[in-house]
Symmetry: D2
Subunit: 333 residues, 4 copies
Amino acid sequence: MNSWGKYITLTTFGESHGPAIGGIIDGLPAGLEVDEDLLKELMRRRRPGGTQLGTARNEADRVELLSGIFERKTTGTPIGFIIRNTDVRSADYEKLRDVYRPGHADFTYEARYGVRDYRGGGRASARETACRVVAGAFAMMLLRTAGVTVSARIDQVGKERCQERFNEVIQAARAEMDSVGGFISCRIDNVPAGWGAPLGDKLQSRLAAAIMSIPAAKGWEYGMGFEGCTLRGSEVADEFYTEDGEVRTRTNYSGGIQGGISNGNSIEFRVAFKPVASIACVQRTVNTSGEECMVSITGRHDPCVLPRAVVVVEAVAAMMMADAMLEARLARV
Amino acid sequence: MNSWGKYITLTTFGESHGPAIGGIIDGLPAGLEVDEDLLKELMRRRRPGGTQLGTARNEADRVELLSGIFERKTTGTPIGFIIRNTDVRSADYEKLRDVYRPGHADFTYEARYGVRDYRGGGRASARETACRVVAGAFAMMLLRTAGVTVSARIDQVGKERCQERFNEVIQAARAEMDSVGGFISCRIDNVPAGWGAPLGDKLQSRLAAAIMSIPAAKGWEYGMGFEGCTLRGSEVADEFYTEDGEVRTRTNYSGGIQGGISNGNSIEFRVAFKPVASIACVQRTVNTSGEECMVSITGRHDPCVLPRAVVVVEAVAAMMMADAMLEARLARV
Amino acid sequence: MNSWGKYITLTTFGESHGPAIGGIIDGLPAGLEVDEDLLKELMRRRRPGGTQLGTARNEADRVELLSGIFERKTTGTPIGFIIRNTDVRSADYEKLRDVYRPGHADFTYEARYGVRDYRGGGRASARETACRVVAGAFAMMLLRTAGVTVSARIDQVGKERCQERFNEVIQAARAEMDSVGGFISCRIDNVPAGWGAPLGDKLQSRLAAAIMSIPAAKGWEYGMGFEGCTLRGSEVADEFYTEDGEVRTRTNYSGGIQGGISNGNSIEFRVAFKPVASIACVQRTVNTSGEECMVSITGRHDPCVLPRAVVVVEAVAAMMMADAMLEARLARV
Amino acid sequence: MNSWGKYITLTTFGESHGPAIGGIIDGLPAGLEVDEDLLKELMRRRRPGGTQLGTARNEADRVELLSGIFERKTTGTPIGFIIRNTDVRSADYEKLRDVYRPGHADFTYEARYGVRDYRGGGRASARETACRVVAGAFAMMLLRTAGVTVSARIDQVGKERCQERFNEVIQAARAEMDSVGGFISCRIDNVPAGWGAPLGDKLQSRLAAAIMSIPAAKGWEYGMGFEGCTLRGSEVADEFYTEDGEVRTRTNYSGGIQGGISNGNSIEFRVAFKPVASIACVQRTVNTSGEECMVSITGRHDPCVLPRAVVVVEAVAAMMMADAMLEARLARV
């Protein structure tokens, strides 16, 4: 349940306020050069406290790689890693012990398991995405050997579409003790035609599933997306042509995928992230005894997940693409 | 690759113009009463030729159930089934043998496999969804024992949101030898709190993956969706309250899922379907030798997938929910 | 539950006395030439009624291949197939409706599922192995492209080790309304070093699991096996040497596998099959009401599974090796 | 590849001479009381240096539980754990850098991955079984709630079957710089009828696969095993009777499993372990350049794996049974 991927799998563990989070990356081919700088750079981009836009929690987020690497190359055996939780203030959460925070997983975890680690959101905390960034870094190292790159960016914050004003919109939400959502778009370049699979393992299914498992994601679309679906077929047909002997499409309404398989064009998708539910203004809720009460969430939280989610989207997409890259080796005799 | 589900799995096979399509449903609990009328009714709703809106292909779509049922109840062993392809006119496709149809999977299948069954779209044909409707019928029989219902409807056709005019919009597209897309929304009622799982197996991940594997789906959103993500956190907070001893939310921006797990409210999601790529007007494309050419797709095709996709969306969602229903039995000691 | 394999999967369905049994082979690479003669020959070897040693049931066992093949080659899409049950005499089983046959799965299926198809052993019938022979045939076609061959033979019948007397021993058991067990050994030749995987997916684990799922198998050993384990380390060390630039072992106590991975030597294993439980002499048992009663099993049964099990062992081993063959493509960057 | 189990999964990582080994246990139900004493006791039984029979390597083997436990109960989220490697003498292995040890996985790992961590056997080291003992401890905690117990014991050392002389036989092998193998038998008591599954997931398949993945295991048999298969059907029929309203068998040739499903009797199986390949006497082998050379393995090694393997067999069997225990919840509507 805590895993992603089929050929290269990531399994993660860890609660936000436990001793450590971590994971195991299994199935990575042997002989891959490990680029620790890339890993550090991605971790830095996701790190809380890294920007004035983010949470005040300051985690060093040092990744301890425990196995699967020998003389700076992967050995084909699983890569185990842990990240210690160092800046934990569980006391902040003591008062939330018996309260279900609106928009959070407190109630649903308890409904499912009959128990929950209430400190810092426990397992449901976005802190877990650090582990996916680790796996994403290794996925990118592999993709790089095929020339494939993944890059995401914020498309919209609230109703604002102008990049220069994103910061303002986020600061305004923070000032009003509120939060704000938006969209991230991602493109994957240089994917050769033929990655992916039909039916149950369509590339879009795997990307959608993995991306929708990022906390706060509420929607996923690719290529023409929702808006393009309001058009006529003649308006969104990706006509084929040839260029240097390669079959290409002139337009990319398909988003680089047809029938679940890459067509050689860039893969393009977009994700909607909700405004975070941890807001300081007072909200009505119920406690674990079923009594109605009021709550104001005063921990250290981002007013907007987007700035830190960009690298998580890239990492998660890279994991799925690296998986598809290996799978493509199995398609023909 | 041709499978869905974890506890109850469906694996399908079959090309559009082969002798038969079919599948195996594995993991269905024993003792479930088989409602053949429900199965027939769902198949009728998906059937080509069933309405004046759809393709002219007329398949009886008789489902032969070959195993796993004894004295009208499931036995716990796998249910194998086949549906013969009866109204096959492969000659229609002979001229497409060497041409990649724009917006279709012809090129990508060939890029991946080096070979393809060009007749009727082969494995990429939407005909395969008939198998998912069969599995969906059994999933609904199981869900019914828990009172859970799944119902979808067309929300928008092209830019039209008024139900009464959907037919007109589709006929207009057909008249102009064009096609039209749109949105389907789906709600799942009476799901108890606690179905689903964290992280890799979040309910939204599983629903998104399965729905995005339906041909022509280009986007998926749940709860507040893309539009809600442009709002402030204070505007979309689902405050908890209690009703008859049950914890409920007043609003449903969460779409019935929090942290990957159902919260007791209705699960609500929306899917965008593209206008079908099989259009009669002439398009530019390339052939398998890489030469540019023209193509006009004159087979029997729907101008709009939405009318027949409604029941497919329901079936696919039911499969995922039945899976989650079983999984919920494993959560506690 | 009804599946085998990880990269090439077989999922089967079907009860002994239902309309048909069948399966889906998924993951077979595209472009493999389909050798229908091989398939027929393997089916003939497994077929009941094929020899005077076997059951009197006479099934044509005609395999209908329904998909995944185009112009005599695999297309990469799943191969669905069915085998109709034609010579079914369910009346033979009517009297067994309420009786648990000793040594059979009647009681355990009912304990698990609360229901069972009592006709002909239902799903637990060895008839299901026909589906594995179909998959094994395709596996062999793939293995052949790498020069790998699989061959099994009867090693021992009862206490008899002399090939020439096996027939006599079986006929003697039949004459006495009894049955007899024995051993089958299997060798897989020309496997290159490097197939298999460490830990959870060791080659011996996968072979043992698949072979132990054949009805009546009671034990599995490879290389030195049980007997070799009574020796000293110095007696069973496989010393390495080189031959034509290849690393080889002089002896093969390892059975061709070290650390879960093939070492280039022949893979050799042995399976123990119990004497079939369907014997005509009167046995004590209980019925479904828990009352003690007597039973004599008078259907058409083999006095010994070994003659027909040889090809099943080959097929099942071939499936696992074909799986490992594909997996080996993923090991290195 | 480094995983076991379907409903409760264990994934492990770690090389013998890396900083740590560890794993993730996923799928364990919430609310299970964690018995750390049991965990410590099992670890102590497996620990090197624990007895005069074992290797001189002395690892504290302290298990750090990093997640999934809150207030001494499981929370339903994954349990991550690590065990630091403390007493590592990699220098012992420096001279083995370029040599393939006979009977070891050195050559096959390199054949597969093109690279290997030669220190201490790397990933192929039996040290990895410590992680399975951790998972086995949790499995036993769960099984205990159903009254199920797992107990293994040494049956035979070399050719010796008398318990009192096992120690002598092992010491004699050590004195002669040799090693010795033998058999371990295991019984699982109080398993209710109905655990397990037909076909691909038969209980015997899962037990055999998991047990055969323990280093040095060369054979697996259950119930009547190899020897019973030389008998007549009438000699090994497990006749049913009833006792206190429960269906039972008078004898247990079936080994507690029929058709892949438990029958309520004790599950009994036996494993053959080879004499360890690390022996001090000089052996011929080849090096990584393909040149023939001599090797004498002078690290710290057990002359016999059996004493420490007993608890590993119990742990691995417990994992599979706990998996089957959860699965049984899914069998009926």
